[in-house]
Symmetry: C2
Subunit: 543 residues, 2 copies
């Protein structure tokens, strides 16, 4: 068990040592060769962890932990089709969706690559036909609006990538996301689109997701009202043979996805491929895939000490389990990366937001029975905006580590007017550099209101620019980091049983509501007065 490993004991000792005043970050960062020893370049990324609360000994023990836990081997097993999603007895082959190698990838004796290549070809062809007008809206007009109907992993990744690459987008196409079952999400979108030239992409692996089916049901009614047909306006991304891939309900096109791709890891599959190719063009989508592939290869082959997502994962474990930080901020100094934190929030918290191994003890109904929690609360906004929002707490309140992201070259490079002698991009960069420095060093002051304790850890990840390839690298970095964390903790990052209880209870309540819809005399179950209260409010339409 994890906590009985000698490396765990060593790390516990290191944590006590690092807490000593002489190991405050303001001293650590000034040690000899800090930058050389605590930064890595690889896979097109630069990762600087000079401002993490670690020293050579901590790093050494962390790397040993990774070796003992065989997490690189585990990554390779994942990449080569082993059923690492053991609770569901499935492979986890998101890496295959961006493989351009000619090597087969076997899942239970079957090579998955021919299917993956076929679907990429289908997306390329569909995207070409969409942009050329061969596929067009009713009355033959070019499509103007694309609406993704999907929730969670079926849209967050595409939203992140589309926003990050907005500068490459086809200016004639608007991309919308209908995710929430809230009728006001539907209402807002149909106010913004042109029905005759709107393509709806329904994304659900099982085609049983409650929100997605409810919204699709409304869209079908809406199309009928407008005299339009599903076979001209709807495409689906779903499992082969699901209700969304049924010739009895004809649609323009169905793209298949597979049980070896989980929702939150699906942006490089057809889930991201279809909307992103329509919005950006297929070639950009393929560049994006190639960036992701590059990081997969780096994660699989770079030695532990030089493996960026692996080292980042070790630092997460260190911050979480040894230094006790409950949360992590994610602050990209780039406004097109504004949707990154929402995507990584899902990727990380849904994968790893679980209780850790309980050392053989049965997990009791109380926190005490859990050895430790895996996963952190992930949240963030772009810098410098975040500085003017929650950085007060980051500097003087409850501490939490931050991952900064810097983009060396912005998209818009023609506005170079200076104020105080610097361009906007230089001003942004000055703030990026200053924040990690201020958080680490702090500042003494006899006035407690102006005293900064410092010793607040951060890392900085750099990409060269907002190219499709770099966005692919960024995505795959976070995916690899997430699974490396899970492999250290010994949890399965590909299931999400924690969302089931709420679904079951919602289904019970739905039945009661449906009962009352059918029969107005129906009386709500009053064994739970709070629940009854809310159901009465719903039907009375007032509080």
């Amino acid at each position: 068990m994890l906590k009985s490993l000698p490396e765990w004991t060593h790390l516990t000792g290191h944590a006590a040592r690092i807490a000593l005043p002489e190991n405050h970050l303001k001293y650590l960062i000034n040690r000899q060769n800090r930058l050389e020893n605590f930064s890595i370049r690889g896979g097109g990324l630069f990762y600087d962890f000079t401002r993490q609360r670690i020293d050579e000994q901590v790093l050494h023990s962390l790397v040993n932990l990774a070796k003992i836990r065989k997490i690189k081997q585990r990554f390779n097993q994942m990449k080569t089709g082993e059923h690492v999603n053991n609770t569901e007895n499935r492979a986890a082959l998101h890496t295959a969706t961006r493989s351009f190698s000619t090597d087969p990838v076997m899942d239970s004796g079957v090579d998955v690559m021919p299917d993956i290549r076929r679907i990429r070809d289908e997306i390329r062809q569909f995207s070409a036909d969409f942009h050329s007008g061969k596929i067009a809206g009713t009355h033959g007009k070019l499509f103007t609006d694309v609406v993704v109907i999907g929730i969670g992993g079926s849209y967050l990744g595409s939203e992140f990538v589309a926003t990050a690459l907005q500068n490459f987008a086809d200016k004639n196409i608007k991309l919308h996301f209908l995710s929430n079952v809230d009728i006001d999400n539907f209402g807002a979108i149909i106010d913004r689109i042109i029905p005759e030239t709107t393509l709806w992409i329904v994304i659900s692996k099982s085609y049983t997701t409650a929100e997605t089916l409810a919204n699709t049901n409304l869209v079908l009614q809406f199309l009928t009202q407008k005299g339009l047909q599903a076979k001209n306006h709807i495409v689906t991304v779903t499992s082969k043979g699901s209700p969304g891939d049924d010739p009895a309900n004809p649609v323009l096109k169905s793209f298949h996805m597979f049980d070896f791709i989980g929702g939150r890891y699906s942006v490089t599959s057809a889930v991201g491929g279809v909307p992103l190719s329509l919005y950006l063009g297929y070639d950009r989508f393929e560049e994006f895939l190639k960036g992701a592939e590059e990081i997969d290869i780096h994660a699989n082959t770079a030695p532990e000490e030089k493996n960026i997502p692996l080292i980042a994962a070790l630092i997460s474990v260190w911050n979480n389990n040894f230094l006790g930080y409950p949360a992590q901020g994610l602050i990209p100094y780039s406004s097109p990366l504004s949707k990154l934190s929402a995507h990584i929030q899902q990727l990380s918290m849904e994968s790893n937001g679980k209780a850790g191994e309980s050392n053989g003890k049965s997990v009791s109904g109380h926190d005490e029975g859990v050895d430790f929690y895996c996963g952190s609360i992930i949240f963030g906004e772009p810098g410098t905006n975040a500085q003017h929002s929650f950085f007060q707490l980051a500097h003087q309140g409850r501490p939490f580590p931050i991952e900064f992201i810097g983009v060396v070259n912005p998209c818009h490079d023609k506005y170079t007017e200076k104020l105080k002698g610097v361009t906007n991009h230089q001003e942004l960069w000055a703030n990026l550099v200053a924040q990690s420095q201020a958080l680490a060093t702090g500042k003494e002051d006899s006035n407690p209101a102006k005293f900064f304790p410092g010793n607040r850890p951060s890392a900085t990840l750099l990409i060269n620019d907002l190219s499709p390839k770099n966005i692919g690298r960024l995505l795959a970095f976070y995916e690899a980091k997430t699974v490396f964390e899970a492999f250290i903790w010994g949890i399965n990052p590909f299931d999400q049983y924690g969302v089931e209880l709420g679904k079951t209870m919602a289904a019970d309540i739905r039945k009661e509501i449906a009962g009352k819809n059918k029969n107005p005399d129906y009386q709500f179950d009053d064994r739970d007065p709070v629940r009854k209260f809310y159901l009465d409010v719903l039907f009375n339409k007032k509080m």
Copy 2:
């Protein structure tokens, strides 16, 4: 000192008692009259705290703490102009900006209300002229785009309110926010607007905010390039006599703000008033103010036991300081409330993200010297989206309390197609009710992966619909809750010294960059090799 009060000791004892297995939430919620005793109706809101980990004794001690700390008196002092912002020797009179009473509000012997009424009248008139076309873009065309240039409190509140009330918006006006100094924020906005019919609203109290000045500088250059003039296309919201209110730099109109309004509390002043009146019409803005006023009166007059923001603040303190939760989720079951959490994140974390009173001890350079941290990490996404994102962690990972918000009647009520016997709105509501229940009760299972510990606290706040008045109530509820928390902790929620160190360090780095811009031979200071590395990357334009 707070921690030496007998109430603090009582609460510490209660926390130990509440941690006992027999006080698991699944038992607490079934106690007699739970709903009656742990919910409040008032000021147009309904607040349900049945699923918080409190019982009568905890509530009693919390209310006593509020009384001993005289937080209602403190609220009244704030509302009547006392200099509660003691570190800056200023009043905090955001409540005056939505007062429609004829009573004077005195700040240092001067009634502030005549100025506040005058500015409201100016906004009403300007908005009327804008909508009628009396004020128009170059060539006399009606304005089509309004861009707010402002960061932090100068835009987050307006963005929240504009998004929440989007259904009331003038469909001919697009509202944009240029907040980030990142050149890609500017670049994206100028790609979307029509220069001749764009009005820019520069918002900065001091007119010294680095980001806002840099962006304004670019906009001035952009206008010149397009042959347009600031006096036709720019309005400012700033302090009287600031550089933004200087006849030497003529603009279309300047609206004044005052030193007694802090940025994050400014959405009911001209900061929100100008953009929101242009986007929604002045009458809706006034309705919004009246909703906020109603909560101010409730917060000021309702007895502690029936005071919604006061009880909510006490529960925050309980969860933070006694139960040890480091974060709070904010989950509105309403997609138009998608920007609520970003606004409250700033309001709460910038106001209260501080170290608590240190019991007379000097605050040392290390966490151990701090008695406790005030403020929580606030984050959130709308439900049901959040269920498909980070609720795995909420149910089975590290626990954190959640504030749910329910909207009884959606905006769009004409789409009532049912699936599985329920409408979309009913499906949404079923999920809202189910989540708080599932978090509280949990579920036993011999399989650890399917075991739910439960005992995870939440509150639910209801509003009747997304009217301007209810959005005003919601805003003022969070403002009052935030200041009540601070008054219990004994901190000043109106200053933000924690953001100063980063600014100072950024200014130093800016000087180095400007030096190199002037003289390419300039060598960066190499005493900090990490900093030098980043500056070299910036100038080399590669990592």
